[in-house]
Symmetry: C2
């Protein structure tokens, strides 16, 4: 997920992505990132727990945005539709930082340890979505499945949206994926 913060935190994020993209993730140290951002290593670790987290800084806020939007859906909305409506809320944020998202995806795709962290963030998002649906009265099993399908829609839509030649808003791509997912599920 994306980046949010201005100031020192934002400078560290920009510096990290540039170094990971040009020099490589393994070849970059936290000291390199801090130096490029004009900050100290100590400041880095005040903001981020490790070398990976700098690319996942926006995850909690984006997750909260999605969850809030799910909870705000009219009660009779079917679970998967509520989830995708929640994802639409995050999509607008991503549309505003498209170049960043494209470069970030390339870096993550090239580094298994970053991809592993991304998978973990998606699993956390699925858990939060399932909890939100349960708060709306969806039974646990159905909530979990709708959450997992929602994450498939998000991950698939996002991967297409950062692809070459794609210039539609993320929400439009996600809706396209949702329609395809429904067709595949129906067989």
């Amino acid at each position: 997920m994306g980046r949010w913060a201005p100031g020192g935190r934002g400078r560290l994020e920009v510096a990290a992505l540039e170094l990971y993209a040009t020099r490589g993730y393994e070849q970059t140290t936290v000291a390199d990132i801090a130096e490029r951002a004009g900050l100290t290593e100590r400041t880095y670790f005040r903001h981020f727990a490790d070398k990976r987290e700098v690319l996942f800084s926006g995850s909690p806020r984006l997750q909260q945005l999605v969850v809030d939007a799910v909870l705000a859906q009219p009660v009779p909305t079917p679970p998967l539709d509520a989830v995708v409506a929640g994802l639409d809320a995050a999509a607008e944020v991503f549309d505003g930082q498209r170049d960043w998202s494209v470069r970030r995806s390339a870096v993550i795709g090239a580094n298994p340890v970053l991809a592993e962290r991304e998978q973990q963030k998606l699993a956390t998002l699925a858990g939060a979505l399932a909890t939100a649906l349960e708060e709306r009265g969806v039974v646990a099993a159905g909530a979990r499945l709708a959450a997992d399908l929602g994450v498939v829609v998000f991950a698939t839509g996002f991967a297409r949206w950062v692809g070459d030649g794609e210039d539609r808003p993320l929400a439009v791509v996600q809706r396209e994926v949702l329609a395809e997912l429904r067709a595949v599920a129906a067989g």
Copy 2:
């Protein structure tokens, strides 16, 4: 996924799971595992790349089993049905090592670094399933979605199957999940 090998490799797997379950994953060293199995650390690293892999030894063979079964489905089988038929083939193996699977799941669920590796193995399985479907003539986008939904069926079914009081075969539980997933997708 499960374990397969007899002999030294199998002894290391049994020793690792017992130590991870009783002493804890973080508190166990490779030397501890080797000692309990009556082998050397060097032998451990001939079989497994790191401290986590010992619990994921069966993954490649199980994945191949699933992929082969997918490729063996009659051509007109819809993609998601072909994938779940493939998962049925692996289900029989798991049914034969239920106690092991239950204990292994508990250990993985209690340790984020193991859960992260499990997510990675599932992502690898999804990639292999998508490739298999493309070999069957399914277009890439649909193949990827059917593969991802298949992995949701597997992961969800497996989590239920290792649950308290569940004694049905894994394939039966997977089919139950597939039916629920279809209902959730349809809205």
